[in-house]
Amino acid sequence: MTPRAGARRTGGPLRGAARAARLGGGRSGRGVAVGLGLAAVLVLTGCASSEADPAASSPPGAAASDAPSSPAPPATPSPAAPAPAPAVGTGAEPARVAVPAIELDEPLIGLGIASTGAMEVPDDADEVGWFTGGGRPGGRGPTVIAAHVDSTSGPAVFFRLSELVPGDEVTVTTVEGTAVRYVVDEVVDVPKAEFPTARVFGAQPTDQLRLITCGGVFDPGSGHYDQNRVVFASPAA
């Protein structure tokens, strides 16, 4: 699946933030001027990883549309049972994510891979997206969902992700209307320079869920946070 128009490549401006700056116009001259300045300076970069160097050579064919959208192969027996056993299929595209513990219930947009090799993120600070080149709910492999912790002007849709703890429930509803329930196993903060790519995005023989946003310290000079907060979840029993 090709990412929809809502996705952006790393480094682009956040629509939500720009909207906030515009809304402030004409109401408070001083605040607006500084606010626009912020939008011009800080919005440019977000919190991209230090690994995703825009100057690095762009891998040809790096766009998600070039990668098979479903890496999960046909059903195979589980390791525990040599005979054909109830197998994990390919799942269905996710359409919505709900996390009652933080009062979150949002539709999902598709996200691919930017030319830098990093994951695309939503254009809008209020949108939540899923990585279309990974797993799907109900299928084999991790479904990876990401959204912003903040815009240039304040909290964004995943701001409260930091409140999640092991045991909290997350429900992902597919385009077919199936609700797949997950339970949070672990919440970790990882330095972007040492991002655990294989653990977050790597193939898995089982259904898994990851929720990602930014964390750690924001460097206004680079416009980046130095960490990612990653929530690991597995299907509810």
Binding site: A67, A146, V217
Partner: protein, 249 residues
């Protein structure tokens, strides 16, 4: 006098050892084991299963029942370095392959045979738990130990940029004596590399506080938050204005 002489001998011996190390560390035209680089240009993953195995004639030949493999690769195509994290579960018996190892990336699309391009160290069961693992980084040029009809090693001329250009044209697999065509196999699919760009700083102090509280990390996070406090305040003003506008609308 005796002591001086022995010291001198040791020094010479040390130099000789260093020279020998240099020679060993840089063999011509074969991959070398290198430390993990500081950055990568791309990443790929493989879900390897027995049902995807294809023999050299292009015929589907099932691998070991119940076995699975995950192959995670990170590539820096500028420096020709590939880092690998390979896990095989449910694989039994000795490895076997005409190549110099039995764990490979082949240039082969799904359902097709193709020559090996990179040979990785075979995963081993170091813990005795039945799970075989291998991790590390290799720098090309690569050799496989398999020669083509022209007598050239199948790694000759291969570059990691070819994987980046068409990941679906490459497959990861491993071979054992009992499953010579492959014990498990799967195609490469690209995944993002590095961190995810999900913030712009408008709530930085609150984010830093939340991070610090939840993970118990160093106080540097709070100091950093304080340093950007001025900017955060301005950002918060924007948020208030936005909310007011929304309320009027």
């Amino acid at each position: 006098m005796t002591m001086k002489r022995s010291v001198r001998h040791l020094t010479i011996g040390g130099a000789a050892a260093a020279a020998a190390t240099l020679i060993v560390a840089a063999p011509a035209a074969a991959e070398t084991t290198v430390p993990e680089p500081s950055s990568f240009t791309s990443a790929f993953t493989v879900m390897a299963t027995p049902d995807q195995v294809i023999n050299n004639d292009g015929v589907a030949v099932a691998g070991e029942p119940g076995a699975t493999g995950t192959f995670d690769f990170r590539i820096n195509s500028d420096t020709e370095v590939i880092c690998y994290d390979i896990t095989l579960t449910g694989v039994t018996g000795d490895y076997q392959s005409p190549a110099k190892t039995a764990t490979h990336i082949h240039q082969a699309a799904a359902g097709q045979p193709g020559p090996p391009r990179i040979a990785f160290p075979n995963p081993t069961d170091a813990d005795g738990d039945g799970v075989r693992e291998a991790s590390g980084c290799l720098q090309g040029p690569f050799t496989t130990g398999v020669t083509n009809d022209a007598g050239a090693d199948t790694g000759t001329g291969f570059t990691l940029a070819q994987i980046e250009a068409n990941p679906a044209g490459f497959t990861g697999d491993s071979h054992t004596a009992s499953f010579a065509a492959g014990v498990v196999r799967g195609q490469l699919t690209q995944v993002p590399v590095g961190g995810v760009d999900t913030g712009a700083g408008g709530a930085a102090s609150a984010v830093a506080a939340g991070t610090s509280a939840s993970s118990g990390t160093d106080s540097g996070a709070l100091v950093g938050a304080a340093a950007v406090g001025g900017l955060v305040l301005v950002g918060a003003t924007g948020l208030v204005l936005r909310r007011r506008a929304a309320a009027r609308a």
